[in-house]
């Protein structure tokens, strides 16, 4: 890690890495990007984020910008590390590389991250932002990054008070498209509940044994889709184990266990808005008012 760097220096390092790649008698390495992938990683999420990324780069070659906020450090500086991750796929002769830029934003630099990432975004390609942990609603770092992002990816299971958080999330849905990994986990269950149609057209209660966030999303979704009040009966569990609508049990098709990399990876392939998700989230906003 080089301490106290300028972004010009970061770009110069990237250029050097690209030029140095490959031995003289080898085919040049290819640099491929399908997006810029930013991740905002507060200290307590570093380990989980690194693990997820390790399984991700190969599926989504992109310029990855990891932002590690350190607002409590005394010095105002950027520390950066630039790395090239290269992969060789079976049967192919040429390595494919993508760039990973890790930046520590120390002191006040942590509150103006957009000005740090903007010079590093790959032109013309979509920008995805993975926000780890609770979102600091209204804080400048979130507001700024949302404005340079096409799609924000969160996992609302990481939020301590999801119900209140959904109400705040609803406020930014007009500015940025949001993917929620918790919502993705509910997909097989939503599909199974949809199978119960039309018996559940007049649903009054949904019972969910699973994480609170996912239970809330399922209840919000069912209410919004049916345009009626649906009461949630929730029992805590590590993952969804049971969903019942008015006593009718939903039976999802067998699903392979997916890693956090797979779940994030799937979200990186989606570009359109997810209206039913937005409606589910907005239902908490109207409940709050």
């Amino acid at each position: 890690v080089v301490e106290n760097v300028t972004l010009t220096e970061v770009e110069r390092q990237l250029g050097e890495l690209r030029a140095a790649a490959g031995e003289p008698d080898e085919l040049p390495r290819l640099r491929t990007s399908v997006m810029t992938h930013m991740a905002w990683v507060p200290e307590r999420w570093v380990e989980a984020a690194t693990e997820t990324l390790a399984g991700l780069a190969e599926r989504h070659p992109s310029r990855t910008i990891l932002l590690f906020p350190r607002p409590n450090e005394e010095r105002d500086a950027l520390d950066a590390e630039v790395d090239l991750r290269c992969f060789l796929r079976g049967g192919e002769e040429r390595e494919v590389c993508s760039e990973v830029i890790s930046i520590r934003l120390c002191g006040k630099r942590a509150s103006a991250p957009a000005s740090v990432v903007q010079p590093l975004l790959v032109p013309d390609l979509p920008v995805f932002l993975r926000w780890r942990g609770q979102c600091p609603w209204g804080a400048p770092e979130l507001e700024e990054l949302v404005d340079v992002t096409d799609r924000m990816i969160v996992d609302s299971v990481e939020w301590p008070d999801a119900e209140r958080a959904y109400a705040r999330l609803a406020d930014i849905l007009d500015r940025v498209v949001v993917s929620d990994i918790a919502w993705a986990r509910t997909e097989p269950w939503r599909r199974a509940v949809a199978e119960l149609w039309p018996d559940v057209a007049g649903a009054e209660e949904i019972r969910v044994a699973g994480p609170r966030s996912e239970a809330l999303l399922l209840a919000g979704w069912l209410g919004a889709r049916l345009d009626r009040e649906v009461e949630l009966r929730h029992e805590a569990a590590g993952e969804i184990e049971l969903v019942e609508v008015d006593g009718r049990q939903a039976e999802p098709v067998r699903q392979d266990r997916t890693t956090s990399s797979d779940l994030l990876s799937d979200q990186l392939e989606i570009f359109e808005r997810d209206r039913p998700y937005e409606e589910a989230v907005r239902s908490f906003s109207s409940a709050a008012t």
Binding site: L30, T32, V34, E58, R59, H60, P61, F87, R89, G91, E92, E93, R94, V96, E187, R190, R191, V193, A194, W197, P198, V200, A201, G202, L222, R225, L226, V253, R254, Q255, D256, D274, R275, P276, Y277
Partner: protein, 506 residues
């Protein structure tokens, strides 16, 4: 009387859920179940579909072949095949689930009881596995065996559910036999139930050709005779004929590759934009290309046969020395041709195509060579410098697209060198490309025939091939005329030299 509240027709809960391509319950019967194709491609493809939960939950496989074998012995053999040839890790639970629905029937169709065994086995699967009378018959058998199976199974169509028929290539051996086969099959099956497979169409890069052309605004305006000088399509194989001498002696390169794969690549390159991506729209446009292909005269077709030579440093025998090949065989292992598509878009633009066995490397490419820049304003150090742009579509290996552009060599003077801008398919989408057979089998289970060949298309292909080979009956070239490990006979080079062009450098 109280009335129940009205229930909307559409299910609002399905909104936003991504539509899954989920096939209906069915059983697939593979004729030729002990063959190479079944072991190397079909069963591994079915395993990969099961691995991804893409098969219906109620699914069964019936293997049919001559060899006497028990269900368990066949399952065991297929398990080995999946371990050896599958692209996914072997998972016992996935395999067990698939294997539970696997049955084997030994018959050679000479004995009348064979087809009854198959029907009984399928009916039992309907009971045991809930396959609902839906049938797919996969004919992975030599052409001579097709008719008997079609008649036998056509007479015993299941009373319930749908029936589909997948027919492997080659579909006939000339126009007459293809027409006859079409007539026989259509006696029992409707055209919408017939899936003539050409696995090239299942390849991602071949489908990407349609995306490249019709989803990008920059290519289509220049995709015509005004801007394109000519097109070169190469289907090169490094392998010899392996153990396929019996088939290859009768087929040769023209029936093995040109009639199907090569003409498909020509059609996809030359076709007009279809109005949508439905089976008939796409196939209508492809048929129009076939109809527009000018019958190539004898001077526009070159054939060859490989003699002994070297592949990757290893000495390999000539074609006539291969096992089970006649020592005076006149079968061609190489064909090059100059084709013209006589329509508004392509008039006078040659399509040079070539295919051969025992060429220096395995490669399938479509090269679109654009016209030269009309007037170079530079004083060039060498004439070589300013070469025409080439858009190169790599079908295999290293799937992708590259564009050759001229760039200035840094330094004094104006030296220009051709550099490649590459898009490597596997580099941008690293999900692992599905095998062609996975895509095609799933499409058939879903009833989507877009990537299969229609009757009129296959007949047009044979009409072209028949015209190419007709003059061959009259002359006997001196075979072998190229050494294994070289790029084909001298005549193929002359074919282009006459037009002041040359084959792409490798």
């Amino acid at each position: 009387v109280t009335q129940a509240p009205p229930v909307p027709q559409e299910n609002p809960l399905l909104v936003g859920l991504r539509k899954r391509r989920q096939a209906e319950p069915c059983a697939i019967t593979i004729f030729g179940a002990s063959g190479d194709l079944t072991q190397r491609k079909l069963i591994p493809a079915l395993y990969s579909l099961a691995f991804r939960n893409l098969l219906p939950e109620n699914f069964g496989i019936v293997g049919v072949a001559r060899t006497e074998m028990s269900d368990d012995a066949w399952r065991e053999k297929m398990q080995q095949a999946v371990k050896e040839h599958g692209r996914d890790e072997f998972r016992q639970d996935v395999w067990d689930d698939l294997a539970n629905g696997m049955r084997y029937v030994a018959t050679d169709f000479a004995d009348d009881g064979g087809e009854e065994h198959i029907v009984r086995c399928l009916n039992a699967l309907d009971e045991d596995r809930g396959t609902a009378g839906n049938r797919v018959y996969y004919l992975a058998v030599p052409p001579a065996a097709i008719e008997a199976i079609v008649v036998a199974m056509g007479k015993r169509r299941s009373a319930e559910g749908w029936t589909r028929l997948i027919v492997e290539k080659p579909f006939g051996h000339d126009l007459e036999s293809a027409k006859h086969l079409n007539t026989v099959i259509r006696e029992y099956f409707d055209e919408a139930e017939i899936f003539r497979i050409d696995h090239y169409l299942g390849k991602e890069t071949v489908q990407n050709m349609l995306v490249l052309r019709f989803a990008n605004g920059i290519f289509e305006p220049i995709w015509n005779r005004q801007f394109i000088d000519h097109v070169q399509i190469t289907v090169a194989e490094q392998l010899g004929i392996e153990a396929r001498a019996d088939f290859y002696e009768k087929a040769g390169a023209v029936r093995d590759i040109v009639q199907n794969h090569m003409l498909q690549l020509v059609a996809l390159t030359a076709m007009e934009p279809p109005i949508d991506f439905t089976a008939d729209s796409v196939r209508n446009e492809k048929v129009k290309v076939m109809k527009a292909i000018h019958t190539p005269g004898p001077k526009h077709v070159v054939r060859g046969q490989y003699g002994p030579g070297y592949i990757e440093g290893e000495e390999v025998p000539g074609y006539r020395e291969e096992e089970r090949v006649a020592p005076d065989s006149m079968t061609e292992t190489y064909v090059a041709a100059k084709l013209f598509v006589d329509n508004w878009r392509w008039a006078d633009t040659p399509f040079y195509v070539r295919t051969g066995k025992r060429l220096p490397r395995r490669e399938t490419t479509i090269a679109i060579q654009f016209k030269r820049a009309p007037h170079p304003p530079f004083e060039l150090d060498t004439e070589e410098g300013l070469r025409p742009n080439v858009l190169l579509i790599h079908v295999q290996p290293d799937e992708g697209v590259s564009l050759a552009v001229g760039a200035k060599v840094p330094g004094q003077g104006m030296t220009i060198r051709t550099v490649h801008m590459d898009f490597l398919y596997g580099g941008a989408f690293r999900t692992g490309l599905p095998e062609a057979y996975e895509r095609l089998i799933l499409d058939c289970l879903l009833g989507d025939a877009t990537l299969f060949t229609r009757a009129d298309e296959v007949e047009e292909q044979w009409a072209i091939v028949d015209a190419m080979v007709a003059p061959w009956k009259r002359d006997r070239p001196s075979f072998p005329n190229y050494a294994a490990g070289t790029w084909g006979p001298a005549g193929a080079d002359e074919l282009l030299h006459r037009d002041a062009r040359s084959w792409r450098r490798h």
